[in-house]
Symmetry: none
């Protein structure tokens, strides 16, 4: 080994500071433990679990954490990926294969560089999705993401396990963070809304589209909804912009069939 | 996992090309297997073993290699570290703690950059030492090295296992070696529509918003239009997605006041 385990200090540099690591439907508790170890090596402490197959907490995770108990003890559990990212404003999805979606794609190194430019408040609202050991992320998970992260290793033999994937992504975060921590600058003027607020917009839009008979034929609804959500995710809309989008949907549909009056549009952003 | 295991190809890019990975007195055969897996992920195939505790070959290594059998089968075994590096011209030693020696020290990233500048013939004479799981490298091993490699992770919790250390060092080799890998940022498979097509969508949307009385009061229209356009520009929508957006606007507004029928939504993207 390169560095030996030392007694965990009371605190670590950057603790609670980096992106949340979201393990989506992990199967083995041992892998959750190994991922926690990989995380803490990189100074990451915010673990989230979506529907872990074997329940949580699970005693089998602890031995594999090799002392990263604090990460496991603070892990938050969610039923769905949507819930796990509801309070995040920028979500990354790790995936090997190019999906048939228009998404920004970065390498793990590009991911580190991206995060390095964000102030602490923005980092706290950032998370990275990792799929299950065997199957990876579903398309429905990837849709929730703003950016796809790939690790461009040997195309003829790519077989990273879950903890190794977490390690490489966390490593790039740690490298980029330590290099640029001193001169982080402001990231844009208006912060993206939380994913939960985006979800409310989607429901509004889809409800009106249902009422308008947009989803036709019905069996295509799932794919159409996915593509529309994917498109709007890319806007990284601010809370104010989401208000505008709500206003647009309400205005366009509100007088339909002589129904509700058009809601006044919210003030412009900024 | 990020990338799934694929059938091992007959050859891999850079096979036999990168540095030799020298495991010095490894204890568990499982860890040798895991290290082989990490190596092949990074396109590294030249494994050397110095006095493996449980003998070699050892059947327990193979399951952990997850298909990187060729690395294990080609592993060369030596009695001493001196013998293992005898044909090498530049040796790196991975170690956490600064040793009481005057040696050049580089980070894993610096290691990658160092190797990237070497021609193939020089690379073939390069190797990296990794110590035993618990104890690391002896000073006697480090003395044999030209350069020390450190992985600057969380100083309060550094607990990389052998395979993880091999993975991170191999990863930096692979990143530096592959010119395309560094931090390429790309978009997905479907290209953004031309701006002229986006303009047509804006006109469609704004026409319907005008009809719905959305822009209120009128003096705010210019700023509101600008903000809405800005928002949709960020989607970098493909031609197919623009079709979907047209469909949404048409569906939401089409039946308004009993007017036009809702246009059938276009097929899903791609």
């Amino acid at each position: 080994m390169i560095r030996r385990a030392e007694p965990a200090a009371a605190d670590t540099s950057g603790a609670g500071f980096g992106p949340a690591i979201v393990l989506v439907r992990p199967q083995l508790a041992q892998n959750i433990g190994a991922a926690a170890r990989a995380m803490l090596n990189c100074g990451l402490t915010r673990m989230r679990l979506v529907a872990p197959r074997d329940g949580w907490p699970n005693a089998e995770a602890w031995p594999m954490a090799a002392g990263a108990d604090r990460v496991l003890e603070a892990a938050a559990v969610f039923d769905t990926t949507e819930a796990a990212v509801a309070d995040l404003a920028h979500v990354f999805a790790t995936t090997a294969r190019p999906r048939d979606m228009v998404k920004r794609v970065v390498t793990a190194r590009g991911f580190g560089a991206d995060l390095a430019g964000r102030p602490a408040a923005a980092l706290a609202k950032t998370g990275v999705l990792f799929g299950a050991e065997r199957s990876g992320l579903d398309n429905a998970d990837v849709v929730l993401a703003d950016t796809v992260v790939t690790i461009p290793l040997n195309p003829a033999f790519s077989s990273l396990n879950l903890a190794q994937a977490v390690l490489l992504v966390g490593y790039e975060w740690a490298m980029a963070h330590s290099e640029t921590a001193a001169d982080a600058v402001a990231y844009g003027t208006s912060a993206p809304a939380e994913k939960g607020a985006l979800e409310l917009f989607f429901r509004h839009l889809e409800q009106e589209l249902d009422a308008a008979g947009f989803f036709h034929p019905p069996e295509k609804r799932t794919g159409m909804v996915r593509n529309i959500r994917n498109l709007f995710h890319r806007t990284a809309a601010s809370g104010s912009e989401l208000g505008t989008l709500h206003g647009i949907v309400t205005a366009l549909s509100g007088r339909r069939l002589g129904g509700r009056p058009a809601r006044r549009a919210p003030d412009t952003d900024g």
